[in-house]
Symmetry: C2
Subunit: 332 residues, 2 copies
């Protein structure tokens, strides 16, 4: 039986383009014991995947040339030779960008699709929610009355971070890239302030006005000059969870900027990089909180769902243009 897959055709230099991907038809192998045949339903596209397109050592190995892209996928079991999964079950896994795929049942987690739309499991109840929760709660450690600044605020992680911070009694300021997103953050998501960095002349001063008592937690999704401006307003004993650096992912040279250490030193600031997998043993804790907050209406969210498996490359490229509000998902 044949299926379609999307492979990394060439490594991008700077910003990735549609030409870095190509579509192929491949034959699926017959099922072996403990394997399942899956059909993809929802595909997650995430900024961190840009790093895997480079041939550099990181916390995850690089994608291989002429091999399929890999990402978070929610899929339906079509056929099973595993005692753990049955036809019709819905699963989550890190899977190749294929219409159908054959894979070991190990590494797949079964999803309960009775309570919430399936796509939530790629979002607030999935890696996105875990990333927001642990970065803010474990590294940021918000306290009532503190000021939290979130960059990439209208992105999948940013929206959840801001709302968890509000639940914990913080003043929340979001930085984003359009007036439409500013409006959304303030009206739908109850951010105390939101700043369009593209139209704000002096970002440092604008942040200072939005944060009259300084910045206690800076949840950083973007890096670069936006982060410089936030960090120049950082408070004594502040915490900076480093979640993403999307503004730098397409750099072709080593990004240069003001040295941070003098500021971190004189203000006793903690800065910590993390990846969500560090917290795997504590995922149930986060899911129980997040599911409760979603049910109570305390966490709302947006998803940008693009229909069509063949739209995966362009949906991914759209992340770097800020095309998404909330989680960017491709629906097969």
């Amino acid at each position: 039986m044949d299926t379609q897959q999307i492979v990394l055709a060439s490594r991008p230099v700077g910003s990735p383009t549609i030409d870095n991907f190509s579509f192929e038809s491949i034959a699926l192998p017959p099922l072996q014991p403990d394997e399942v045949l899956l059909e993809g339903l929802y595909y997650s596209v995430d900024p961190y995947m840009r790093g895997r397109m480079n041939d550099t050592k990181s916390y995850v190995p690089p994608f291989q040339l002429d091999q399929p892209m890999l990402g978070g996928v929610i899929a339906k079991v079509i056929e099973s030779k595993s005692p753990d999964l049955n036809h019709g079950d819905i699963v989550f896994g890190m899977l190749p960008w294929r219409v159908q795929t054959v894979t070991s049942a190990k590494g797949l987690s079964k999803i309960d699709d009775s309570n919430v739309p399936i796509s939530y499991h790629l979002d607030v109840l999935g890696m996105t929610g875990m990333t927001a929760y642990f970065g803010l709660m474990d590294i940021g450690k918000p306290k009532v009355g503190e000021t939290v600044v979130v960059s990439g605020a209208a992105g999948a992680v940013g929206l959840v971070v801001g709302q968890i911070a509000k639940i914990h009694g913080c003043r929340v300021v979001g930085i984003t890239g359009s007036d439409e997103k500013v409006k959304l953050l303030k009206e739908k998501y109850a951010f105390d302030e939101a700043i369009n960095y593209k139209t704000t002349g002096d970002l440092k001063t604008t942040i200072s006005r939005s944060c009259p008592e300084g910045v206690d937690i800076y949840y950083d999704n973007v890096g670069g000059e936006i982060s410089d401006a936030v960090i120049s307003n950082i408070n004594f004993h502040a915490r900076i969870p480093l979640c993403g650096q999307i503004s730098l992912y397409n750099s072709t040279e080593v990004p240069v900027g003001p040295r941070l250490q003098p500021m971190l030193l004189t203000r006793s600031v903690l800065m910590q990089g993390f990846i969500v997998i560090n917290y795997q043993s504590r995922f149930p804790e986060a899911i129980s909180h997040l599911a409760k907050w979603v049910q109570e209406g305390k966490i709302k969210f947006d998803q940008t769902i693009i229909p069509g498996f063949d739209q995966l490359p362009s949906a991914f490229l759209g992340l770097f243009k800020g095309n998404n509000i909330g989680k960017m998902i491709v629906k097969a």
Copy 2:
């Protein structure tokens, strides 16, 4: 009664010079209740004092022009109107650079001078030891078998950090600025490796060779390009206590360098600035450990003791030329 004091005559632009200081004769006021008349015995000069010579907001207020410099001083009580202190007592305090001074007894701590030389209380049993201990133990959290790199390794704090790390079963690599100091670190202080950054062409590669399993803890006293080289060898889940940035203190423009966040992010690294006063409530814990290690001969140290109150400015300037091995102290 008159005494001599050293005041900040002008603020340095870039490297401080002897002309930034001036000597004055002043009249001491009569003693009021709860005050003591002190005579300085040992004066601490420390790199962080450079920051206070600028008129910028920091964790301690700037020195005022035409007012005396302030620092850690061990002094003898000459006359007392305090019920807590008697003639002949030895005390530590943050005091002006004066031959004699009148001050409140509050804020002075009495020193037991029966067991160890008095000057140790400006060093391993004083702020230097506290700084080394809490930065390494509380932020660095060393584990047996880990690799610890210390910059400014032959300085007061660096020597103690390296030895505490050895006590905890770590491989210790020091970075310093002369062959004499390299020899001392390896022979007297049992550092596993020591590197003279001034004569090493490719510091990044040299560190990589000295740390075949990467760097788990980088105790940073210097900042700048030395730190860039260490951080390029940093391990997953590493910790970077920021204690000092002496290489940048005399910069006249905002220092620029490679952006750190991508590296900290992809390797889940923690970087944390601190000042020793954050740990004041836990000083007794550190002192009890350090005093024991000193008695057991597990912590050795050097002091560079310069005689003469009038040598205070030049001793301070010498810190930025690497003139000291271990703690730089001026003996009245």
